[in-house]
């Protein structure tokens, strides 16, 4: 039996960090302002997503560390829902990063590390959910709709070309031929006028 409740406050030790003190803006000349603006723009252009992985956590072996990063990107921080443990500054994420590295240093394969986490936190911890009966609609829904749409389009296209072929292959009746000739003749006189 699994029990949980909604909206119960708990301590996850998620830290919010305020970098700017907005209450005390310093005054700048207009030229300095423009310079600051350009600098800020440059900083924005050069910005890359910050990793929460701290230097002290990193493994000395670059190959192991890069495997740890790959794993860390696919593991979900359990208190922040849509962040990987590499992106999260939550303490649990920090502990999970350390655990991943400890497993790797102990000689575990990537799959074993994932199994270790799943054994403790369930499939919830995987950012890429495995294919099960519960997630089948998630994995198959979009391709099925795509195939369905392609089938319908193909059918509609064939129906249209069949109709066009049917029109072309039926010869005009005597009556229709006479009307066509009359129309063409009147069109010519119009054009001449």
């Amino acid at each position: 039996m699994m029990l949980h409740r909604l909206k119960v406050p708990r301590c996850a030790r998620d830290d919010t960090i305020f970098l700017v003190d907005a209450s005390n803006p310093t005054k700048l000349s207009s030229r300095a302002k423009r310079g600051t603006f350009l600098l800020a723009l440059l900083a924005l252009l050069l910005a890359f997503p910050a990793l929460a992985v701290e230097p002290s956590e990193m493994l000395k072996d670059p190959a192991l560390e890069s495997r740890a990063r790959d794993i860390g990107r696919s593991l979900r921080c359990v208190v922040c829902q849509n962040q990987s443990i590499d992106d999260s500054v939550a303490e649990v994420a920090h502990d999970m990063r350390l655990a991943v590295r400890a497993r790797l240093a102990a000689g575990d394969s990537d799959a074993q590390v994932f199994d270790y986490m799943v054994a403790r936190y369930g499939d919830y911890v995987l950012l890429k959910p495995p294919f099960t009966t519960a997630t089948a609609i998630l994995w198959l829904g979009a391709p099925v709709v795509l195939l369905l749409a392609a089938g319908l389009l193909y059918k509609a296209g064939r129906r249209r070309s069949a109709r066009a072929a049917a029109v072309q292959s039926t010869p005009l009746t005597e009556e229709e031929r006479r009307r066509l000739a009359a129309l063409l003749a009147s069109g010519r006189t119009h054009g001449e006028r």
Binding site: M1, H4, R10, R13, V118
Partner: protein, 180 residues
């Protein structure tokens, strides 16, 4: 032919209706997409190994979970307000119902945890410390407080990722009395 084409015009409306229905269900059914659940329930308890909080007390081992009687394992911290909220309930369970509760001070300075228990009362039969959260990770902890009910055979029966409340007692007490 014309009839089926006309029906197609209702397709966007139908799609919208299905989506609205799903959203309404999501909002009203109490489904919590953030619920982690627990994979431990029904499985043998993870290893318990922790140094004791009280100086001179023996360290905590697996033997505490295999006494033949059900126990509660509670992760707490003195810096955690919800832990303080559930604390009176733990005290009552220990004193009135004689429940064996094992406490683990999660990422807590021992002296602060000791002071906290001295101030609020100590419901724990034995208390361990988990200064780095390593034991907690082994137990699939996501925050504090969390409480596990382990039966006499060492199988995890319940896992609460929230402070315990009066409502939970109806589930917990029969399992604690039932033995296994």
């Amino acid at each position: 032919m014309i009839n089926s084409n006309r029906l197609l015009y209702f397709l966007p409306l139908l799609t919208l209706a299905i989506m609205a229905g799903f959203f309404a269900w999501s909002l009203s059914s109490g489904r919590d997409p953030a619920a982690i659940g627990s994979v431990l329930v029904g499985r043998p308890a993870p290893a318990l190994a922790a140094a004791a909080l009280q100086e001179g007390a023996p360290p905590l081992t697996d033997a505490l979970l295999k006494t033949g009687k059900p126990v509660l394992l509670n992760f707490f911290a003195s810096w955690c307000a919800p832990c303080q909220i559930e604390h009176p309930l733990l005290l009552r369970l220990a004193e009135r119902d004689g429940v064996a509760i094992i406490g683990i001070a999660y990422k807590n300075k021992p002296e602060e945890a000791r002071a906290w228990l001295k101030r609020l009362g100590n419901p724990f039969k034995q208390t361990g410390i988990d200064p780095e959260g390593k034991l907690a990770l082994d137990w699939g902890l996501s925050g504090v407080p969390e409480t596990y009910l382990i039966d006499g055979a060492g199988i995890v029966r319940l896992h609460y990722r929230a402070p315990l409340s009066e409502r939970d007692l109806a589930t917990i007490l029969p399992l604690l009395r039932g033995g296994s």
